[in-house]
Structure formats: C-alpha cells, structure tokens
C-alpha cells in the first residue's frame, strides 16, 4: 500500500495552528499506552504510507511514517535483510513513524544499535506547518545539526514524522540460543564478561531463573562461540526472543502490576527493589513489576546511575518518564518552542510541560 498523504497532513497542521488546537498524532494506535495520555484532536498518519526507496546493496530503506513494520520487515526479509534494532510492535498496526517517535528498540539493541543509531534521515512536518528534510539516505552525513536523531524518541512533540530513512543490515547466516541456570548477580556478570570479548552475541536476557544468550553471524563463528559459552540449546528460540521478550508475551509481563523500565549501566549490580525483575540488554535494561512508589524506585535507579520510566499501567497522571534536572528541562522547552512554537503537537505526551 503506497499513498502520499503529506499535503492533507500539512493542511491539517496548518488549520490546527490557525485555530490553536492541539493534535494527538496517531499511527497504528499500538503504542497509545506509552508515555502520558494523548490529548488533542487525533491526527491520523496511518494513511501516509509506503516504502519510498529500498536499495539492499546500499543497506538503506526509506519509508513513509504510516508504513507498517510488518510491510517493512517483509520487504527486508525478501532481500535477506532486517531492521537491526528489532523494534517491538505491541500491536498489529505498528507503524515506522510511531516506532521511531517512541524510540523503541528490541533485544539486539546493545549489540547492533538502537533506533536512534540507525536513523539516517527524516522528513518532518513541524509545528510551524513546514515540511523539512534532515539527514538523508547515506551512512555518513554531518551537514547541519542531527535533527533526525533528535526526533527519535521525542514522542512526536517536535514534529510529525512523514518519512524516515534507516540503515538496515543483512540477516545473519546462523543463529543459536543457549541458556543456563544462574542467580541474578552471576547473570549480570556473565553478560558483561561475554560483551567484553569479541563474541557474536546479539541478545541476552535473564528471567529470574535462567540466563539466555543469542549468538548470530557466520556459521563457524557462531559454533565456535557456542562451544566457548556453553549451556543448553533453546528450542523455539526465534519465538522466545520475538514473542516472549520483544513483544512482552513472557509470563513476567502478565497481570496488572505496574511495569517499570529501568535503564542502568550494564554491569550495575542487582537493584534492591520490591517486586520481580527481568534483565535484558546485557544488564542495561531491567524490567520491574512493582507497586512501590515512583520516588522510591527512582531513587534506587538514580543511585545506580540510571533512570526509570513507568512503561505500562500504574498512575499515569504524573510524570511517567524520569524527571529532568532544571537546566536540561529549560533546553527541552526551548527546543520544543523552536519546532512547535504554539505547543500543538502531542502536548504533554512526554512531559507535562512539553
């Protein structure tokens, strides 16, 4: 499905500017649960879709913001390639624009890069009603400020993502997942020990009982690394990483207890917090199911050198993302002002003040 809806979107944003009417940008609606509650009239981007340019030999794909991840990933698979950051979908209609706006990355993130690492260029509809292009379709580009990466994870508060160019990678020739029983401290230590050696590790996870590691790359390289790391081979590994971990289908994620995402230095020791934890990303991403008060969680995580966000559920009326120091918040406000002077795009979705 290919459709250029940018004129209508630009018209809608200009009308909103004239009426000073806030807009809630919406793609597939799969990530409406993230961030603070959407406010404003819906601006539907899903109709602005289609792959605009895909050159497998250049490792670059450009698609409109409303293109579904499903369409993109099947085009890539046909050419034996993939989105290296393994974005979670959290729903059938997940779009590229929403994925980049939320800055979400999956299990391969510490090893193959985050969404922001792979964004090469954007076409953005700003809160001034202008369509601007930043970056491009090449790997190396330092002309002008890196606005494309600034847009990644900005939750649509700086602009509507009309088009994105991403670096893609060949899918690995071989993949193997191994698991072993460990306690949390040992699991973190092992994840970091492996990452300090030149091994083809592409995902790690500790579910409270077992430590899982995925190796991907050339056939012989994976076999050599598997022999070195040891552990039991996991059957159904592909669906384990995709459905259980990336899409949060694992039993750990079931139920209504608030889900927190804790981002800490990879080797940070186990965090003493009430509730269950699931550790990913070589120790850098820790999921917590806990009813503990936000302040108590944030204090422990800050002391460990990280930050905490209330990912799913819980009280979403306050700040769900980690509060920023005053100087940093000032810079955020001024940047918001620079892209969206009337504060109309996804107001309050990231922080109450933006």
């Amino acid at each position: 499905m290919s459709n250029d809806d940018s004129e209508r979107l630009q018209y809608a944003v200009c009308a909103a500017i004239a009426a000073k009417r806030p807009l809630a940008i919406r793609g597939g609606g799969s990530k409406a649960f993230l961030g603070r509650a959407p406010q404003g009239e819906p601006l539907d981007v899903a109709g602005h879709s289609g792959i605009v340019n895909y050159q497998p030999k250049e490792l670059v794909l450009t698609a409109r913001g409303g293109t579904t991840l499903e369409e993109i990933e099947s085009a890539l698979a046909e050419a034996g390639q993939m989105l290296p950051f393994e974005p979670p979908r959290f729903g059938p209609g997940a779009t590229l624009g929403g994925t980049i706006a939320c800055g979400l990355s999956g299990p391969a993130r510490p090893y193959l890069g985050a969404a922001r690492d792979l964004v090469l260029g954007t076409r953005v509809l700003t809160g001034r009603g202008e369509i601007l292009r930043f970056g491009g379709e090449v790997m190396k580009n330092v002309a002008g400020y890196d606005v494309s990466r600034l847009m990644t994870g900005a939750y649509g508060t700086l602009g509507v993502l009309l088009e994105l160019s991403l670096k893609v990678l060949p899918a690995p020739a071989a993949t193997r997942t191994l698991s072993q029983e460990r306690d949390p401290a040992q699991a973190i230590e092992l994840m970091n020990r492996w990452a300090g050696r030149p091994l083809p590790v592409t995902a790690t996870c500790y579910d409270g009982e077992r430590l899982y590691v995925r190796l991907s790359g050339a056939e012989k390289g994976v076999a050599q690394a598997a022999a070195e790391i040891g552990g039991e081979p996991l059957a159904g590994a592909e669906s384990f990483w995709r459905e259980k971990i990336r899409e949060q289908g694992h039993g750990f994620f079931a139920g209504n207890t608030p889900l927190w995402r804790l981002s800490v230095p990879q080797a940070a020791p186990p965090l003493a917090l009430p509730g269950k934890q699931l550790i990913e990303w070589g120790g850098a991403q820790r999921w917590l199911r806990s009813d503990a008060p936000a302040d108590a969680i944030r204090e422990v995580v800050t002391r460990a050198g990280g930050h905490a966000s209330l990912f799913r559920g819980g009280d979403r009326s306050g700040e769900v993302f980690h509060p920023l120091p005053a100087v940093l918040m000032t810079l955020h406000r001024r940047l918001k002002q620079a892209f969206d002077p009337d504060g109309l795009l996804n107001p309050g979705r990231l922080y109450a003040d933006l």
Binding site: K140, V147, P170, A284, L335
Partner: protein, 489 residues
C-alpha cells in the same frame, strides 16, 4: 581568501583590553595568550588556507575556569571558538577577529576506565588514539579512527561526529559516545546521555554530537569501548575499471558480509601511495579495493573465503590476501598515507568530503573527471567505499594567482554534484567555514531557519562559533542569486 570569511565587526582595542583585564582576574598568567607571536599558532586549523588572528587565546585547566570564561564572554557578548588539536579540515576552529579562542589542550587526562562496563570518562583534550592505547590492557579499544587519530582529540571528534575507515561496521562518534558533560554559553553545566544505553527526554546527545562547537563547550566525554576482534584479515583486489570495483562493493554487501573496512583508491591515488610507501600496490590498476573483515577466528576464515570468491567473480584482475600481520599493515599503510602521498605530487592539495549513494559512484567519478579537465586541475580519489564517503583530492599550487579560488570553485561543484545524486556535502569533516555556501544548496531556507532556531535554544545570543556550520538566510540568498545555484529538493 576573504570571500567566505565570516563578516565580523573590527576588534575594538578598548574592549580587548577590558576583556583581558577581566580574564586576568581569575586566570593564571600562563592561561592567557595575548601577544601576536603567541596567537599566531592559533590562526588556523587543518584548513590552513583560511587564517585569522583571534582577540585572545585562553587555555583553562579547570571546569570552573571554563565556566567563568563563558559567563564573562556571554555578559560582554564576545564570541568564543573552542579548539582541540586544530586538526579539523573545514575551518571549524578558525578564530574570529572579535572573539577569543578557548583551547581545551590542557584537559588532557583520562579520568577513569571501567573495563567491566566497557566505558571510559575522558577530558576533551585527550587524543583519540590515546584512549585505545590506555584501554588495550583490558583487550578493549575506542572504535572511531579518523586518519588524524594520532593527533586529533575526542572533544574535536564530538564536535565533528568524526568517522574513520571502520564506520560501516562500528559507526561514527555518535554511536560510540555514551555521555558528554558540557558548559553552555550561559555557564551552565549540563550532562547529556549517561552511563546506561539511553537517557530520559530528547536525545540531546545525538543533537550535540557533530554540532561543530556551536551549542556548548565539552568538558568531559564518556566513550564506549569495544572488545578487540580476535583476528582481522585484509584482501586487496585490483581492477582495470573503476565501475567494476564499485559493483564488487555492492556484491560483498549483498552477500551478507559487513566488512570492518572497505576502501577504494583510483589510479592517481594508487600511484602516489605506491611511490610514497611501497605498499606493493599494482600501479597499473584503474582502481583497488581493500576489504578487511574481522571477528572471531572462524568467522574471519569463513568471510575471507567468500570475499575472495566474490572479488574474483566481479572481474578483479588480481586478488591478494595479506599473508601475515606485517603485510596487512603494509596494505593499509598505503591507504592511510594516501593524503600525504598525493601531497608530494603537488605543492598543495585540497581534500573534499562528500558522501553519495554508492550506486552513483561511476557517474560521480566520471563527472568529477570532466570537471577536473574543465578546470585544468588534477583530482585523485580516495573513497570509503563501504559507506559512500568520497575524498577527492584536488592538486593545485597556491602560488599561482587565482588557482586557490579556482580549486575552491571546483571543490564546490564536486560537492554540489554529491547533493544532486542524493548525497551530502560532508560525510565526516564538517561544514565549518569551508562548506557554508554549499549548505544553501543542500538545505532550503526553512530548514536553515530551523537549524538557527536549534542554535538559539542552546545559545540565544549566538556567541559560540558564530558564522560556522549554518549560514544565515541572507548569505544564502546572495549565494543562490549566483547563476546555476538554485536550491532543488
């Protein structure tokens, strides 16, 4: 050479004397340079065709001194140009006549290395290579390796988002820096990023990296360290036709191999490099490719075998695998010495830095050769083939009247050609002062306006490195009025 120098008010001797007095009040005597002979070494960076003496040079030692310098300059509205080792190639550290140069040369300590988390906190004046040297005992290294890595500093790398020959696999500075601490022009200390893999809020770290000293002054950098690959191996392939070499690059990538380094040189560059370092290059080749793969022992063996097959099938006239580490280093030595080697052929050379979609290589090389003939100036090509970043080297003699101006004009046309085929005017050297006019070709007035608004969010009075990186709309409208420079998207 005054055509693109920033238009600045003439320095006022009274203001200069006042500023000097105010700086002296808190800076030690050896942290302030004011005599002409002391200022002279700071008059240019690696783009030495542009020279300008600053008002004063300050060489602070502490973060507090940097903060007080910036506060004072903000109060008095004195422009500040931060400087690392001065190896930049786009004039980003060129002084301004009415501004000071803030040298970070004395911030040269590695503060800590954490081998378990694989990170290091370093001061901005630490040399790029010094980080890898210090991390080597842990089997770790810092991946981005610009060709100036012996001399260039990490602060400068952050300012330029520097790359190197291993970018396709290991990324640029932006992929290898976890956090920076900086001081804004108002003297506020801010940390962007953190020791984890992400930070809350906007990705200001990504915005800051590559901002060419226009948003803040870096005082500390936290870099990511990677494990040294178990083995690296390089293959050299020779071609009688540049187009075949270009196609071979696409074949390697289509086969699912991401080489650690993938470089191309054309005939003139090969001959110059061979005459200089005797790397054993085939001097009758129209192009050579150097393809390095790294990883675990088994992985490298598997990939090297595949790369050799692909290169032979792509019409290479010769394919050689380095027999040992000494030969591997010799293959690379020719590539790494390509700039000085070309420099020996001519009194002066001018290095360009466009990036293009790789499939456009034959067209760009052909049209570059046509432009070279039109201007009567030889061009040698060195190309980071893996990521599309080209470095055409224009040979000229600055002593011939008008030749530098013609060289710049030719360079500008080559960059505009890169934009025309869907690329960019700069892959890794930055815009600085050098490519400021071509920014008007790559970006629309609205986009440039947006860049200026980003700048003002950090530096409302526009005192940090003003006139660099992003042109003012007025300068662009003047440039666009020149024939054949209309903006097209």
């Amino acid at each position: 050479m005054s055509v693109h120098l920033p238009q600045r008010p003439a320095p006022d001797p009274v203001r200069r004397a006042d500023l000097r007095r105010a700086l002296r009040a808190f800076l030690p005597a050896d942290a302030l340079l004011e005599q002409e002979e002391e200022l002279r070494p700071y008059e240019c960076d690696g783009l030495s065709a542009y020279r300008q003496l600053p008002l004063l040079v300050v060489l602070p030692r502490t973060v507090d001194e940097v903060r007080r310098i910036l506060r004072l300059c903000a109060e008095r509205e004195v422009p500040v140009v931060a400087r690392g080792a001065g190896t930049g190639l786009s004039g980003g550290a060129l002084p301004l006549a009415d501004g000071i140069v803030l040298s970070l040369a004395r911030f040269n300590r590695i503060l800590s290395i954490d081998p378990v988390n694989r990170t290091a906190w370093v001061q901005p004046g630490v040399r790029n290579l010094a980080i890898s040297e210090a991390a080597a005992v842990h089997g770790l290294y810092y991946a981005p390796d610009p060709s100036s890595q012996i001399a260039c500093t990490i602060g400068g790398n952050v300012a330029e988002n520097s790359g190197g020959v291993h970018c396709l696999k290991y990324g640029l500075t932006v992929h290898n820096v976890l956090a920076v601490r900086l001081i804004t022009m108002d003297g506020e200390l801010v940390q962007l990023g953190g020791e984890g893999l992400d930070a809350p809020g906007y990705d200001l770290l990504a915005l800051f990296i590559g901002s060419e000293g226009m948003l803040g002054v870096v005082t500390e950098v936290c870099v990511r360290l990677l494990p040294k690959p178990e083995r690296a191996q390089v293959v050299l392939a020779a071609y009688d036709d540049v187009e075949k070499a270009g196609a071979a690059v696409g074949e390697i990538i289509a086969a699912g191999i991401i080489p650690a380094g993938l470089e191309m040189m054309d005939g003139p560059a090969i001959q110059a490099a061979e005459a200089f370092v005797h790397a054993g290059y085939p001097t009758d080749a129209a192009a050579i490719l150097l393809c390095e793969v790294d990883g675990t022992n088994q992985e490298v063996s598997e990939h090297i075998a595949r790369v050799r097959e692909l290169l032979l099938a792509s019409g290479a006239t010769e394919v050689r695998t380095a027999r040992d580490e000494a030969e591997r280093l010799r293959f690379w030595q020719g590539r790494k010495a390509a700039f000085p080697a070309v420099g020996r052929l001519s009194p002066d050379y001018y290095c360009m830095d466009g990036t293009i979609p790789r499939r456009k290589l034959p067209e760009v090389l052909r049209r570059t050769a046509e432009l070279s003939a039109e201007y009567g100036l030889p061009v040698a090509n060195v190309f980071h083939a893996g990521d599309g970043n080209m470095h055409p080297l224009i040979l000229y003699n600055a002593n011939n009247p008008g030749e530098l101006e013609r060289t710049e004009e030719l360079g500008g046309k080559i960059l505009e050609l890169c934009v025309e085929v869907g690329g960019t005017i700069t892959g890794e050297h930055g815009v600085g002062i050098e490519k400021i006019r071509q920014m008007c070709v790559q970006f629309s007035p609205e986009e440039l306006h947006q860049f200026n608004a980003v700048k003002r969010a950090f530096d409302p009075k526009e005192l940090l490195n003003p006139g660099k990186g992003v042109p003012t709309p007025r300068r662009c409208s003047e440039y666009r009025q020149l024939p054949q420079h209309r903006h097209e998207h």
